[in-house]
């Protein structure tokens, strides 16, 4: 199962999070986890619009070990990149008019979080959540 959603406007952020929630539900995630996943997608997609203008969200299901499954979301853009990664992960820090909880908040909601960013080239954020969270 894999799905790519083009992020061109705020409305696409809502489409992406709805799809993410549906996929999470199909995989057997609890209602709270579904919401954690949906809200994370929403934040990442909004970041794309805010900082890069456009980009895409890729949602994939994962299989690990004997019996664990998970969901992976990749938010990628060709925007300006993040110049100070440490700062971007501090609660309350924001370079736009957001509330500055997008990235640190998303990190708290998910099991795994990683950023790959190059100034002037783009940003690629990968987040994961496992059905039995013990992989981190």
């Amino acid at each position: 199962m894999q799905e790519t959603i083009q992020i061109l406007s705020e409305a696409d952020a809502i489409v992406a999070r709805q799809r993410g929630r549906e996929i999470a539900r199909t995989l057997g995630f609890s209602i709270v986890d579904q919401t954690r996943i949906a809200i994370s997608i929403s934040e990442l997609a909004r970041n794309i619009i805010l900082y890069a203008g456009t980009g895409e969200v890729l949602i994939t299901d994962l299989v690990a070990g004997y019996d664990d499954i998970g969901i992976e979301v990749i938010a990628a853009d060709n925007g300006p990149g993040i110049s100070d990664l440490n700062l971007a992960l501090v609660d309350g820090y924001s370079t736009s008019n957001g509330l500055g909880m997008g990235l640190p908040g998303t990190k708290r909601l998910m099991d795994e979080f990683s950023i790959d960013t190059t100034p002037g080239v783009g940003t690629r954020i990968t987040i994961r959540k496992w059905l039995h969270s013990r992989h981190f």
Binding site: S30, V32, Y66, S133
Partner: protein, 296 residues
């Protein structure tokens, strides 16, 4: 040279091996017989012997081929070990049964005509290694299952140690017992909020008498729980803060914010009852006020 060939020839004589194997088990009144029934054991033993010739001696084939060759035996082990466990058996029940087969086969290797000393040695070594591999697979399943059982039990204990009790109409109590890590805190929060909404209870007492250590991390998790409860519309009172806990919190500089705290559960309960009475009076007052306004 395939050292396993002689073994294959020997095992091909399935009927007589199974008969001998079963007779030995019956003679010593083997525990597995009693647990699973002799007919079932006979069937299973035959299945194993059908699978046996497919095996490769570990290290003699490519890893992929080796894995494939043990797939059937793997499945067989999984079935029978699960069944043994379900009937209360353990490795002590199962291993002697399996090793009995190894003994029978080695006897036959020795009795095999036209065997040189080298053939005999190679054959027995191959047999050893095949059975080592089977043992290994069996213990893998066994430990894996054990781990699952332990996890399930840990989960059950966790749920037991954070029950949500309705102590009064509209008042829930959450007596916490034991250490609170992040994972457990999440479970407690979800459970509490679900109960608050289900029972429509606007008051919650979180009693931490049974929490051995309240450090910054635990305090932070408790604060989050109180915040989330407030968002759905319930007010929390934290009780059971022992002197040493109060001391640590102050020493660590932990700020419980505007969370109402009381020394004992009883004090917490009477505080809430007082709040409810107050609210009723306010409401009555507001009603009269509105009535007066509409009349005038």
């Amino acid at each position: 040279m395939d050292h396993f060939k002689s073994l294959r020839t020997i095992v091909a004589d399935r009927e007589s091996i199974v008969t001998e194997w079963m007779a030995q088990l019956a003679a010593e009144r083997h525990e597995l017989h009693e647990l699973l029934g002799s007919e079932y054991i006979r069937q299973q033993s035959e299945t194993l012997l059908i699978e046996f010739p497919r095996l490769t001696v570990p290290g003699t084939a490519s890893p992929d081929r080796e894995r494939d060759s043990y797939e059937g035996v793997s499945r067989w082990l999984q079935n029978i070990s699960l069944r043994t466990a379900q009937h209360g058996g353990s490795p002590h029940t199962f291993m002697p049964y399996l090793l009995r087969l190894k003994a029978i086969i080695s006897e036959r290797v020795k009795d095999h005509p036209e065997m040189t000393m080298q053939d005999l040695y190679d054959g027995l070594t191959a047999l050893d290694r095949v059975f080592d591999r089977i043992n290994h697979l069996y213990y893998d399943f066994y430990l894996n299952r054990r781990e699952q059982v332990i996890k399930a039990q840990a989960l059950a204990i966790q749920e037991l140690s954070a029950p949500v009790i309705q102590v009064w109409n509209g008042i829930l109590a959450l007596p916490l017992i034991g250490a609170i890590d992040t994972q457990r805190a999440k479970g407690i929060m979800e459970n509490l909020l679900r109960e608050v909404v289900r029972t429509k209870s606007p008051h919650v007492i979180i009693d931490i008498t049974g929490v051995p250590i309240v450090d910054t991390g635990v305090a932070e998790r408790l604060i989050k729980t109180v915040e989330a409860a407030r968002l759905v519309g319930a007010e929390c009172v934290m009780t059971g803060i022992r002197p040493e806990v109060a001391q640590t919190l102050v020493m660590l500089g932990v700020n419980l914010g505007d969370i109402v705290t009381k020394a004992t559960l009883q004090a917490g309960l009477s505080y809430i009852l007082q709040r409810i009475r107050q609210g009723e009076q306010e409401a009555a007052f507001a009603d009269t006020k509105i009535l007066e306004e509409s009349v005038s």
